[in-house]
Amino acid sequence: MVMEIVCPAGTPASLRAAVKAGAHTVYCGFADETNARNFPGLNFERDEMREGVAFAHDHGSKVLVAINTFPRAGGEEMWHRAIADAESAGADAVILADLGLLAHAAQHHPNLRRHLSVQAAAANADVINFYADAFGVRRVVLPRVLSVPEIAAINAETEVETEVFVFGGLCVMAEGRCSLSSYATGKSPNMNGVCSPASHVDYHEDHGDLSAKLGGYTIHKVGAGQPAPYPTLCKGCFQAGEATGHLFEDPVSLNAEALIPQLAKAGVTALKIEGRQRSRSYVAQVVRNFRAAVDAQAAGLPMPEGMLASLTEGQATTAGAYKKTWR
């Protein structure tokens, strides 16, 4: 059986590019604070979502709508409307994180399939089974902190489908619980849908040196010939005592392509590609690559040679927590 690849789309053009490149499933969000990629110029208006879903369905692909931020007190209506609009657009599922929103969806939209977002940070079988029993969650996106044996242990104890990240930007924090960006910018990834919002990011090049600032704080500076620094605090370069370096995490991206056979053996249903903020060129290349990989895995062939290093955000990759080799 071919593993499902779940591919990002920040714009209708990217959705079409993903479908054309062989995506089984595309995930996307509305152009507001209801999704965790609330960036300028990105995401879907209501009519664009309806057209995107129709295009995907016409070509045999599914569409998942991410409504995975946490509703503001007094502002829940925006999130409720997003769920209703996703259902009327014909979405195959919604990806939710907030308990109240899951309860709302289960009560008012019982026929709309519910997936649990990585933002919910559900990292063991007990909590996943709770989400299934209480809210009818059918699939969980696992946090990027689990090893392959831990994922296998979860799958042994739950009927809920599991989806894991295999490529793209990497958060090693338990997703949904990171506030680093908020300290520097006042904007929260979980509430406003923006980690390190572009409006607070400033790059400046001076005689070949490139510095990155977030909220007015310089978080990294590199010399000529080095990859541009990543604009998030977690991947910044800091001095602590006499040590200078990437104290939280290295500026590397996840690439678990080589682990696909092990993830299949661990019972994983779907492989998720990060990058709704990236271009349609990125989407097409990564999706094509991973579609070839899962097709090869299903046919019992060796994994094709990866060609994706140049597309990674830090220009370097890691297998992340799937193979725990932390320094």
Binding site: G41, L42, P227, A228, R280, R288, Q315
Partner: protein
């Protein structure tokens, strides 16, 4: 540029030198007209730009002796070329082939930025909005130029195809999957 540089083709030096004597005002007017024609066919691009329709973007092809000020102006775009340093809300600099490749979906903007093939300064949010709006519009400058060429459309197509083949620069839309 870093180890993962894309090796973007550079504009040939001799023709670039020839541009030094080019009268910029008529070319600016012609480019503004061209941009307005594209704008009329792609109104969604300006909706996607939102509040950044008022932003002033400096596009700086580093292999040419001039740079460009682009003002979207809610679908009535204006382009101004200059040989002097231009000031705007945001600056995007890189080889002309990289800038055109982004428009045509041949390259990924983040990858070009992290590899240092592209330099971004100023209002990062405005740059992101512009990048996303253009990426979604699936522009094809070659097709637009042909549409404006009337009876010379076929000749224009051949000319652009020849220039594309000789320079390696993406002068037309890059279809993500050739089988479609």
């Amino acid at each position: 540029m870093s180890d993962h540089s894309v090796n973007l083709p550079l504009f040939p030096r001799l023709p670039a030198l020839a541009l030094k004597g080019m009268p910029l005002m008529p070319v600016s007017m012609a480019l503004s007209g061209f941009a307005r024609r594209i704008a009329a066919r792609h109104p969604a691009m300006f909706r996607r730009l939102g509040e950044y329709n008022a932003a002033r973007f400096v596009l700086d092809p580093t292999d040419l002796p001039l740079s460009m000020l682009l003002e979207p102006l809610n679908g009535r775009p204006r382009i101004h070329l200059s040989r002097r340093t231009l000031r705007g809300d945001a600056r995007i600099a890189g080889p002309l082939s990289g800038l055109l490749g982004l428009v045509h979906g041949a390259y990924d903007g983040d990858a070009l930025f992290f590899s240092r093939d592209l330099v971004i300064e100023g209002d990062t949010a405005a740059v992101l909005a512009l990048r996303n709006a253009i990426d979604d519009a699936e522009l094809d400058l070659s097709a637009e130029a042909q549409a404006m060429s009337g009876p010379f459309a076929a000749a224009m197509r051949r000319l652009i195809a020849m220039a594309e083949a000789r320079t390696g620069v993406a002068l037309s839309r890059h279809e993500e999957d050739g089988t479609w």
